[in-house]
């Protein structure tokens, strides 16, 4: 029986929660995430449901990773600004964020990163168009896509803020 498996997959940034659902569905089927790369996921064979997998966007912070390890989580790896953790299901619940404030903060962090990269692409695109460079449209397309992503993330953020106005 195979013990390792590689899956190539593209995930849009606004679907990060669906990515997490997918990784947990894989774990439920006995394939637990073991390492990540650009559009590539490597899994190992485990008991179905042995692990829960979580991901978040965060600046690389070794202190945070050791903090997570103290609480029983295993660090799987990171891809760009996304970090991946897993924890054995029999070691108890595993969530990264347990209240609305920290969920909103996380979305806010993603939104800030998208804004910065989006603006960079926009400026480069405009600058290149003005100087008559043919490939300027590439940056302009990237900028448009990033702004769309920003809109999707902010939509999620608004929904949570609305909820927070009623409860903690």
């Amino acid at each position: 029986m195979e013990t390792r498996k590689t899956v190539w997959k593209w995930v849009w940034v606004w679907n990060f929660d669906k990515e997490e659902d997918w990784l947990n569905a894989m774990a439920m089927n006995g394939w637990t995430l073991d390492s990540v790369g650009f559009c590539v996921y490597h899994f190992v064979r485990t008991e179905p449901g042995e692990y829960n997998v979580r991901l978040e966007m965060r600046k690389y912070d070794p202190e945070y990773i050791s903090f997570m390890q103290e609480t029983g989580a295993e660090y799987i790896g990171r891809m760009m600004m996304w970090i991946y953790f897993r924890k054995r299901a029999d070691e108890g619940n595993f969530d990264l964020f347990s209240d609305l404030d920290s969920k909103i903060n996380h979305l806010n962090k993603i939104a800030r990163v998208l804004t910065v990269i989006g603006c960079m692409n926009l400026f480069i695109g405009i600058f290149n168009s003005l100087s008559g460079l043919r490939l300027a449209w590439i940056n302009l397309c990237c900028a448009t896509l990033l702004m769309y992503a920003l809109g999707r993330i902010q939509g999620k953020e608004e929904a949570l803020k609305k909820e927070r106005s009623l409860r903690e």
Binding site: E56, F67, T71, F97, S98, D99, S102
Partner: protein, 104 residues
């Protein structure tokens, strides 16, 4: 300085757990125990809150023990004041609720 503070449930239980020095995982366990399993602090939420509470001066990080390397935190005098005020506020909330609903 008498701010009218309302603590979040996470903040409340973190401060309550830190009446004695505890490290991160200890705070998570204490919170679950105090609330009979109802409140579960997630590690990412806790990490952010600990940093914010240190910045506010409500808790301090204790010198790191060379053996365990785990960071411990403890409530400050300021943090204790905030916590006591919050308990008073919560008592008022509960008393008002009972008074209004008592006859129903």
């Amino acid at each position: 300085m008498q701010e009218n503070l309302v603590l979040t449930e996470s903040t409340y239980y973190i401060l309550l757990s830190l009446v004695e020095p505890r490290h991160g995982y200890g705070i998570m366990q204490m919170t679950e125990e105090l609330s009979n399993g109802r409140v579960r602090l997630a590690a990412g939420t806790l990490y952010g809150a600990l940093n914010a509470l240190c910045d506010k001066g409500w808790i301090v990080q204790l010198p790191v023990d060379a053996q365990s390397r785990r960071k411990e935190y403890e409530l400050t005098a300021k943090g204790l004041r905030v916590l006591k005020n919050e308990v008073l506020r919560l008592k008022e909330l509960a008393a008002n609720g009972e008074e209004v609903l008592g006859e129903l």
